[in-house]
Structures are given as structure tokens and as C-alpha cells.
């Protein structure tokens, strides 16, 4: 799917001036709170009337103020999953799910009810009323409801923001499955690096109402100005690795990626599954000589590709590890001591315990997957 957006809009003192064209199964709009992400998707959904806009999805024009085109919101076929769910309290879960389906009725049957219910694991909820559901359940029903309205595009506005950590962990796998198994492209608004690192295939970085960068997720995540643009200390490269084997005795899982061999605490994924790892820049240690007798499990050889300042006393270093990018953050002092400069051979050291639930994604593409997948 290609989404082309060109918007100028004023909201009080805030000025939105965003233009981008993004492609992918899950496009993440990423930026600080108040950077204008939600306004952009509200305009795409037709909830806000923009001063000037041109919105195009795969060649279909939804807005073109220059030519007086504005498709009313109920004819856009743009599904919207709101932060707070917004389920209809007077309808049962089943009626909520079928609400949009009914209006889509005359068109070809899109996503099948049973399939969506199964994909989201909400079969046991359909006869209940939304008031009694947990936050995570509500959000899954809201996703199902939007999917069943046969949308050409699904917008998600920080769907996990109102949930606690456990509930987030409960929903992320469903969104991954949605991204990989449903044909509906997703635009996902978030200010969480962990979510974007796990989910995004393409990223649009938004800062102060403007587009700071657009591109494939891995390219954007390894950018050295990523942390500066987004104000996130959690920045770091995202790599895709394959589960090679499990070491039950040691309680470790071994993965391989182009950069080399990774070992971390045991992950619940079958051998052969591909998954995403986010290697946070602040967790990467650099060494000029291969370390010996060191507790860190992951030592990967590479070459310094790029160095950029991050604030006064800190630099970020991009490494090329056999064609795969890693980012390390260190003090300017250390970088000077080590003589870090483009072209220098280096070893990246990452502790196995620095990976956690936020930085390890579920299997990609559903090949393999856990038993309930």
C-alpha cells in the first residue's frame, strides 16, 4: 500500500505542515506527544477538516482541497482504532463487531467474521457487553470492529497507550499477526520506541508538525539522529534474526543474523522462526580488541560507519557488522580514547540480559509461531 499525505493545517498556535509518501504493511507515525501525529490520522480519517490537504491511498484520492474533493468520513473506508476503544455501550460485543460490517454490507464480503474473531482471540467475548471487558479485551474488540468494516486502511492511534505493561504484552502479538496475515495495511501512531521497533515496516518521523524522516523501519531506526529527533533515549538499531537453537541446560536461545551469532535468555519461539530484536544504543559497548573472559554473551565484529554527536558530551556511532547496522552510544571521551572514526575495525559487545520483552518481537510472518498462533 502507498499512502501519500500532504497537509497544511493550523490548530491554535500549532502548525501542521506534513508531506510524505510511505509504503508498507505497517507504517508507524512516530514522534513525541503533541508533534501532530494524531492530527494527521484524524485528517486521513475525515474527522478534522484540514485547511489544505491532499490524501491519496493507492491512487484513490480522499482529500484534495485544491480540487474541492473531500470524501465524507463514512465513505472513506478508513478503519480507526482509537486510543480508548470507543465501543458502543448499548450493543453487545458481537453487535459492535458487526456494526461496520452492516454498512459495508453490499460490498464484497471482506474479512470474515469467524476469521477475525479467531485472529484476535475474542470468541469467548462475543455475547458480552463492552462495559464488563478489560482494557486489553476492549482494544482487541475495537480492532476487530474496524477490520470487519472492510477498510482499505486501518488507522491505530496509540492503541496500547491506555493499557498497563501486561496488557500491552497481551495485544502486541495480535497486532503482529494482523500485520503479517491480514491484507489491510495499517498506519500506527505511537511515541513508544519499543512498539515501533517491534511492529513497523516503515516509519514516518514527525517532529513539531513536520516530517523529519521517512523510510523503511530498519533504515530509520539506525539513524544516528533518531534519538535527537524523537527525544528518546531508548533508540537503537532493529535487526531481524532467526532462532538457531535453544540451549535448555543454560536457559539460552541462540539466534543468527547477518551480523553474527546472538545469545540471550530463553525466548518462547520455535527454531527457524524469524523475529525482531531491538539493540538499544545505550546497551552496546565498543572494544578495539576482541575481549576475552567477559560475561557479555554477544561479541560482534564490525567497522565504524559513521559518528554523530548526541548532545554535548555524548556521541552515537553507527557500525557496519557484515552489512547489518548497529548503533552504539558512548561518551565523547571514550570515543576519543578508542580513536573511533569511520573505517576503524571494532567489536560491539551486548549483554544477553539487555534484551527484554519490549525489545524482542514475536515471530514475523507467522511461519512457525507459538501453538495458539
Amino acid at each position: 500500500m502507498t499512502l501519500a499525505v500532504d497537509i497544511t493545517h493550523r490548530l491554535g498556535a500549532f502548525r501542521l505542515d506534513a508531506k510524505f509518501e510511505a509504503e508498507g504493511g505497517l507504517i508507524a507515525l512516530f514522534g513525541r506527544s503533541g508533534s501532530g501525529k494524531t492530527s494527521i490520522i484524524n485528517i486521513v480519517a475525515g474527522l478534522i477538516r484540514p485547511e489544505r490537504a491532499r490524501i491519496e491511498i493507492d491512487g484513490t484520492v480522499l482529500d484534495d482541497t485544491g480540487h474541492g474533493i473531500r470524501v465524507p468520513r463514512h465513505r472513506r473506508r478508513v478503519g480507526y482504532v482509537f486510543q480508548e476503544g470507543r465501543l458502543f455501550p448499548h450493543l453487545t460485543v458481537r453487535q459492535n463487531l458487526l456494526y461496520g460490517r452492516w454498512f459495508a454490507g453490499l460490498r464484497k464480503p471482506g474479512e470474515d467474521f469467524a476469521r477475525v474473531v479467531d485472529l484476535l482471540g475474542i470468541g469467548h467475548l462475543v455475547e458480552r457487553r463492552p462495559g464488563k471487558l478489560s482494557g486489553g479485551e476492549k482494544q482487541r474488540v475495537a480492532i476487530g470492529r474496524a477490520l470487519l468494516s472492510d477498510p482499505r486502511l486501518l488507522l491505530m492511534d496509540e492503541p496500547l497507550a491506555s493499557l498497563d505493561e501486561d496488557r500491552k504484552g497481551e495485544i502486541l502479538p495480535y497486532i503482529e499477526r494482523l500485520r503479517d496475515k491480514s491484507k489491510v495495511p495499517i498506519v500506527y501512531v505511537s511515541h513508544s520506541v519499543a512498539e515501533v521497533a517491534r511492529l513497523a515496516t516503515a516509519i514516518v518521523l514527525i517532529a513539531d508538525g513536520k516530517v523529519a524522516a521517512v523510510g523503511p523501519a530498519q533504515d530509520i531506526m539506525q539513524r544516528l539522529d533518531f534519538a535527537t529527533l524523537t527525544g528518546h533515549a531508548d533508540a537503537g538499531a532493529v535487526i531481524e534474526a532467526t532462532v538457531a537453537r535453544h540451549d535448555a541446560a543454560a536457559g539460552l536461545t541462540e539466534l543468527t543474523s547477518r551480523a553474527g551469532r546472538w545469545r540471550l535468555h530463553r525466548i518462547d519461539a520455535p527454531v527457524g522462526a524469524r523475529l525482531r530484536l531491538q539493540v538499544r544504543a545505550r546497551d552496546v559497548i565498543l572494544a578495539r580488541i576482541a575481549p576475552v573472559e567477559i560475561s557479555a554473551l554477544n561479541v560482534l565484529p564490525g567497522v565504524v560507519a559513521d559518528v554523530a554527536p548526541y548532545g554535548e558530551a555524548i556521541v552515537e556511532v553507527r557500525l557496519d557488522c557484515n552489512g547489518e547496522a548497529l548503533v552504539a552510544r558512548l561518551t565523547r571521551y571514550s570515543a576519543g580514547q578508542l580513536g573511533i572514526a569511520p573505517g576503524v575495525a571494532i567489536f560491539a559487545i551486548v549483554k544477553g540480559v539487555s534484551f527484554d520483552r519490549d525489545s524482542v518481537g514475536g515471530p514475523i510472518g507467522g511461519n512457525g509461531g507459538t501453538s495458539d498462533a
Binding site: 463514512h74 478508513v78 455501550p89 468494516s149
Partner: protein, 230 residues
């Protein structure tokens, strides 16, 4: 306790007048409440005041205005008679009109409050799911304001059952045609030996009022349980 045929007539007539007044005002009440709750237009305050006017005017004044406007020679009354053959003056339909006008502010107020309490984000969500404005109103807004509709209808009905001043001014006090419960009670109190009749009709009034209250309570509970607000 048995009622005389005349008393039964008054009870029947009152119930009919109040029911018709309530049901006929309902669509107008919803429309005006919607306009007042959601609309932003010139004359908003004026309309608001106009709707509330019967609540603060002396009922006799309201009745007299109705008489001027809706009487056979009044501008609206003459038009309605010439075009549709509808007559209000000195008919039970006129009593229903007077009762409806008097109950209208109460009905609009209850419905308006419930419309203002509706989470408009739910309506936005319905729009993104493919519902046009009309469908959003029918499938989201209307079901969500059912408690307000019920409250408004009960208030209007109760007001209509008790309306006296405007009715008697507009359509007089004709037994079998415009003599509602309050008019009948009033008549009884004006004749010697009418105390027993007045007392009987008073008991009937109390019974009807209690039933209406009970019904509204039951319906409101049912509605709020169904909504089960998040």
C-alpha cells in the same frame, strides 16, 4: 369506590389528551433538543427562551395566546382549518395542544441534557465505520438517550395530566369534550355536594401519577442496566 359515567369520561379524556400530547410532542421535542444541544446558529438563545416560555408564563396567558393564534379566526387556526380541516378551539385536540405546549419545555430539557451527555467520540467512531449522519443518529445517539427520552415523556405526560389554566382558557370546560380531570375536580368543588366526586377524582389522579412514576423508574433502571456505562 365507583365512578359515575361523567367521572369516567373525564378520566378517559385526560388519559387520551395526555397520551396524544406526549406522543405528538416527542419528535418535535427530540428535534428541538438536538438543535439546542448541538446547533450553533443565530437565534439559539431566542429559541431556547421561546421553548422555556410556557414554563414561566402564567398558564392563563399561554392559553390566551393559543386562543388568539389557534382559534378559528386566529392566523394559524384559520390556516389549519382551511387547509387540513383541523379545529382546535373547544375540542379535545385543543386540550391536547395546550397540554403539549405546557409539557414541551420539560420534555425538551430532559432530552437535551441526555443528548449533551452523549460521548460524541462514539458518534465519530460510528462515522469511521461507515455510518452516515442519519444512521449515526438512529443507531448510536438515539439508543444512548433512551433514558432521557423516557424521563422527558413521563414529565410531559404528568404535566399534561395536571394542566388546568391554559386548557380551560383555550378550550373551556365542556364535559365529554374538553373537561379533563383537573377541570372536573374544579367543577365539583364549585357545586354544593360535589366533595365526594372531587375526592374520588383526586384519588384517581394520585393513582395515575404514582403509576407513571413507577413506570419511569422501572424503565430508567432497565435502560441504565442495558447501557452499563463504561
Amino acid at each position: 369506590m365507583t365512578l359515575s359515567p361523567e367521572e369516567w369520561t373525564a378520566v378517559h379524556l385526560s388519559l387520551r389528551v395526555a397520551t396524544v400530547a406526549t406522543l405528538v410532542s416527542l419528535p418535535f421535542g427530540v428535534a428541538i433538543a438536538m438543535l439546542l444541544a448541538r446547533g450553533r446558529f443565530w437565534g439559539h438563545t431566542l429559541l431556547d427562551g421561546l421553548v422555556l416560555l410556557p414554563l414561566v408564563l402564567p398558564p392563563v396567558v399561554t392559553g390566551y395566546i393559543l386562543l388568539i393564534l389557534f382559534g378559528r379566526r386566529g392566523p394559524i387556526g384559520a390556516f389549519l382549518y382551511d387547509t387540513f380541516g383541523i379545529v382546535f378551539s373547544f375540542r379535545w385536540t385543543g386540550a391536547a395542544l395546550a397540554c403539549g405546549i405546557m409539557g414541551f419545555p420539560l420534555m425538551v430539557r430532559a432530552i437535551r441534557l441526555s443528548i449533551e451527555a452523549v460521548d460524541r467520540k462514539l458518534e465519530e467512531a460510528a462515522g469511521t465505520l461507515g455510518a452516515s449522519r442519519g444512521w449515526v443518529f438512529l443507531t448510536v445517539t438515539l439508543p444512548l438517550i433512551v433514558p432521557g427520552l423516557l424521563a422527558g415523556m413521563i414529565l410531559c405526560f404528568a404535566k399534561a395530566m395536571g394542566e388546568f389554566g391554559a386548557t380551560i382558557t383555550f378550550v373551556s370546560n365542556i364535559p365529554g369534550e374538553t373537561q379533563t380531570l383537573p377541570s372536573a375536580i374544579y367543577t365539583f368543588t364549585q357545586v354544593p355536594g360535589g366533595d365526594a366526586g372531587a375526592f374520588r377524582l383526586t384519588l384517581v389522579s394520585i393513582a395515575i401519577a404514582m403509576l407513571a412514576l413507577l413506570a419511569s423508574e422501572v424503565m430508567a433502571r432497565f435502560a441504565s442496566r442495558r447501557l452499563d456505562v463504561e
